[in-house]
């Protein structure tokens, strides 16, 4: 099973680039063939990333590959520093550069004294794991290298572990920010993994709390706890009860009560889903549990399962889009099918289910399924909205509407 018929799992390098590009006052410089950057532009713009002056390439020639000539890299660093005065230049090695073993970190080291911008290199080249390895690497670097201890600023928090590669991530972040504002009157300082400035990241140590929304960001959260004394909470708000539980856990850490209005609303909506709780719940009585199969990132799977449980839908398959080797005590229901053919066979075998997943899943689940796009790759959809989350109260509102469509399709 060596043939890849559709999208391979994105590499660490790809995630490094899509996570560094949104950082304001910084520039990503790819040291490698220009074709990769040009081609990659298509992906990055589809993820909603601004390309202008955030990404450059040196291009390379045979001189770089055979003779180890690094003058293109040196000159590009000097030029970017002079022309755009960024605070940081992230130098990211391409796959071919990683293979030939050019000492990119070494070049950055001796070039540092010649430029004002800080130089930070990434030498992974796409061979050190899938995109979750890249996310880990970026979150860890930002926490260790940029964030500084700062006087605590009341009623502020950071979101740690967003990823532009996640479908509707900006909407989910928007929903988290709404929930925190309504529940506690807290404001978001910076979002690690999406648009944040260097200054915001440097000052993130002043927040009261870090909200970790991806398992890959846990190491960064620990670093921030040790270096800046910031407590963190790891989890995502999915479903009405799930959202309330999430807020309750945060409430315990920060020692603040959740807004009673919000609690009441979430409880009412949650009750509405219970058997005898209302028309929606009543409708479920006596019915056989319907099934769903979900494909997505690890934390998306955990969250969507929570939401499905609240809707009395059984999750038959939870297929992780990335390797789960690095996740300690991973959920036993979540599987990573590394072989594409196994995934295709599984998706083809589903019947009468609610399939929530990526373009890949959409391609193979049959007309006898009901499909909802929730994860990458999502080339078939452009995301205009930043207010249509899957997380939180509004996310659950949306999922409920989709569930009704699913039930209608099959007359359940």
């Amino acid at each position: 099973m060596s043939l890849c018929r559709f999208y391979p799992t994105p590499s660490d390098r790809m995630a490094i680039i899509w996570s560094l590009m949104p950082i304001g006052d910084a520039v990503v410089l790819e040291y490698g063939p220009a074709g990769t950057t040009h081609f990659g532009g298509g992906l990055y713009s589809s993820l909603g990333l601004e390309l202008g002056r955030s990404l450059f390439t040196t291009h390379i020639s045979e001189d770089d590959v055979i003779m180890g000539d690094v003058s293109r890299l040196e000159n590009a660093i000097l030029e970017i520093d002079e022309a755009y005065s960024p605070k940081i230049i992230f130098v990211v090695a391409a796959a071919v550069i990683a293979v030939i073993g050019t000492d990119v970190a070494g070049v950055c080291h001796y070039m540092q004294e010649k430029v004002n911008a800080r130089l930070i290199s990434f030498e992974e080249g796409g061979f050190r794991g899938d995109y979750t390895a890249g996310l880990r690497s970026v979150y860890r670097m930002l926490a260790r290298e940029l964030a500084k201890p700062a006087p605590k600023k009341e009623k502020t928090y950071n979101i740690v572990g967003a990823s532009a590669g996640s479908y509707r991530v900006r909407s989910d972040v928007w929903e988290i920010q709404n929930l925190m504002r309504e529940a506690f009157g807290y404001e978001c300082g910076c979002v690690i993994g999406l648009e944040s400035s260097v200054d915001e990241i440097e000052n993130m140590g002043g927040a009261e709390l870090n909200l970790v929304i991806r398992t890959e960001a846990l190491e960064a959260a620990e670093i921030l706890k040790n270096n800046c004394g910031t407590e963190y909470y790891y989890g995502t708000p999915y479903g009405y009860s799930g959202t309330l539980n999430w807020l309750t856990e945060i409430s315990k850490i920060i020692g603040k009560e959740i807004s009673p209005t919000l609690v009441k609303r979430l409880k009412e909506k949650s009750m509405y889903l219970m058997p005898m709780g209302g028309p929606m719940g009543m409708g479920m009585m006596g019915r056989q549990k319907q099934k769903a199969s979900v494909q997505g990132d690890y934390d998306t799977l955990l969250g969507i399962r929570q939401a499905l449980e609240e809707m009395n839908i059984e999750t038959e398959n939870l297929i992780c889009s990335h390797s789960i080797k690095a996740i300690e005590n991973s959920d036993p229901q979540i599987r990573f099918l590394g072989k594409e053919k196994e995934r295709i066979e599984l998706f083809k075998s589903l019947r009468g289910e609610w399939c929530l997943g990526s373009d890949e899943m959409a391609m193979f689940c049959s007309e006898n399924d009901y499909f909802t796009l929730i994860s990458a790759p999502f080339n078939s959809k452009y995301q205009y909205a930043t207010h249509l989350p899957f997380m939180g109260e509004k996310g659950m509102d949306c999922l409920l509407e989709l569930k009704n469509d699913f039930f209608e399709k099959f007359d359940y």
């Binding site: 099973m1 060596s2 043939l3 890849c4 018929r5 559709f6 999208y7 391979p8 799992t9 994105p10 590499s11 390098r13 790809m14 410089l29 490698g32 063939p33 220009a34 074709g35 990769t36 950057t37 040009h38 081609f39 990659g40 532009g41 298509g42 992906l43 589809s46 390309l51 202008g52 002056r53 990404l55 450059f56 390439t57 040196t58 291009h59 020639s61 045979e62 770089d64 590959v65 000159n75 590009a76 000097l78 030029e79 970017i80 002079e82 022309a83 755009y84 005065s85 391409a94 796959a95 071919v96 293979v99 030939i100 796409g126 061979f127 050190r128 373009d359 790759p377 080339n379 078939s380």
Partner: protein, 446 residues
């Protein structure tokens, strides 16, 4: 904040000072968006070949982007199945033969192609896996043509070698045929040959079209391509295949690129009909006279104007020679990606007349810094639209260029420059309100 245009200009060479692409400097060291890579060129060509499978051999990034580019929109692969063999650390260290063997068996079982293209990328070209030998093995084992397209990006500044290598590799999928009254069209990168003037005259003379590569082709149309009476090379990317076919199958060829100069177009027509052993339609002589007259009249209006050019869909150096020599419109700066031997005579003539600056193409961020310094009247090809407008530089629009060949190219070029000249005058007079809708939009890319 920004680049120093004056510094960039000081470093830039004139066309006469550059003997090869190595001597042509980019405007800046940090590029954006940068050049397309040969993998893209190979993809654009192979995706149109029915009954074929394209296998991208490289890191997941190359495979991912190829899928992304062809999974929808106008780049969607039609009769071709695009798959990949993704190399990991193990393959890089120990070689990818085992993975390739397994993948090839899988693709043969699932897709039953008639031809397979193995497209390499930078990493596999550096690690030195012998993909050519693997292809020979698969041909013997599975009994079908397996063509290797070497598509590493570090030897080139654009995607054209990917097209060229796909074409010349395809000769191994061809078989000796009986000759019939048809021609092959080699090198038509984009567009529809059936919409061109040349196609119309071939039809009138009873000549059919055989293989079009790039174009909508199939494994069978490639196999039977040597049945053509001649190959028409419409872009230099088709020339190596044409030469190879002449040597292997005796198929003559005529180079008939998208030339602008009526004299050159007429001589191409003459050569083509001579090779086809057909009488040249008499109206072509009339068209020549008409275009010669049109050129003369246009030069009276345009002479003395200047432009900056990126790559275009036309024969670039021939276009610049025609503009400078016949219309008196001089290029100030050319953004180029090749200096091939076939265009050397055109370049010599350009140097005699005006000797423009040359720089590498596909650097849209940096090119904007040249506009206020060189102050051209027009821009051709890709440009920085915002800066063009700011500097009152009119865009030369030849939107239908990909569907033209013959005297219609000359007509299109002259009309586009005359329209741009009107736009230029309006912009310089501040008459933005009189400009037709869409006039400020982009021109013609490559």
């Amino acid at each position: 904040m920004g680049l120093d245009g004056n510094k960039m200009l000081q470093k830039m060479k004139r066309l006469s000072e550059a003997a090869n692409m190595k001597q042509v400097k980019p405007l800046s060291y940090a590029l954006f968006p940068g050049y397309h890579c040969p993998l893209m060129g190979a993809m654009l060509t192979i995706k149109e070949i029915d009954d074929s499978v394209m296998v991208v051999i490289g890191p997941d990034e190359c495979a991912y982007y190829t899928q992304l580019a062809t999974s929808g929109g106008n780049m969607k692969a039609n009769g071709c199945r695009i798959v990949s063999v993704v190399l990991d650390q193990h393959d890089v260290t120990f070689g990818c033969q085992e993975k390739m063997d397994e993948a090839f068996a899988e693709l043969m079982e699932e897709f039953s192609p008639k031809v397979v293209y193995l497209v390499t990328t930078c990493v596999v070209e550096v690690t030195g896996d012998d993909i050519d030998s693997m292809a020979i093995g698969y041909e013997a084992e599975y009994g079908l043509p397996v063509i290797v397209v070497h598509a590493e990006n570090f030897k080139t500044d654009d995607h054209l070698p990917g097209i060229e290598h796909t074409l010349d590799g395809s000769i191994d999928a061809m078989e000796e045929q009986n000759i019939c009254d048809c021609v092959n069209i080699l090198g038509l990168r984009l567009g529809d040959f059936k919409k061109t003037e040349v196609y119309g005259y071939l039809q009138k003379s009873g000549i059919d079209i055989g293989l079009m590569l790039p174009g909508k082709a199939s494994a069978d149309s490639i196999r039977t391509a040597p049945n053509a009476k001649c190959n028409i090379v419409v872009h230099s990317v088709g020339l190596p295949l044409a030469k190879e076919m002449k040597e292997r199958f005796g198929t003559p060829y005529v180079v008939f690129e998208r030339y602008s100069d009526p004299e050159l177009i007429l001589s191409c027509y003459k050569e083509l009909f001579a090779v086809l052993d057909k009488e040249m339609p008499s109206e072509l002589e009339n068209m020549y006279s008409e275009m010669a007259e049109k050129t003369k009249s246009a030069s009276e209006i345009l002479s003395g104007k200047t432009y900056i050019s990126g790559n275009t869909a036309l024969c670039n150096y021939e276009l610049h020679k025609f503009m400078a020599e016949k219309l008196g419109v001089k290029p100030l700066l050319l953004q180029i990606s090749d200096m091939d031997d076939d265009s050397i005579e055109f370049r010599k003539k350009i140097i005699e007349i005006c000797d423009p600056y040359v720089t590498r193409s596909a650097n849209l961020g940096a090119i904007g810094y040249m506009y206020p310094l060189l102050k051209p009247d027009f821009n051709i090809g890709a440009g920085n639209q915002l800066e063009l407008r700011k500097n009152k530089i009119a865009v030369v629009r030849m939107m239908n260029a990909y569907n033209t060949l013959g005297f219609e190219v000359c007509r299109m070029v002259i009309d586009a420059f005359l329209a741009a000249n009107k736009e230029s005058e309006m912009m310089k007079n501040g008459d933005f309100g009189k400009m037709p809708h869409g006039m400020m939009r982009g021109g013609m890319g490559r």
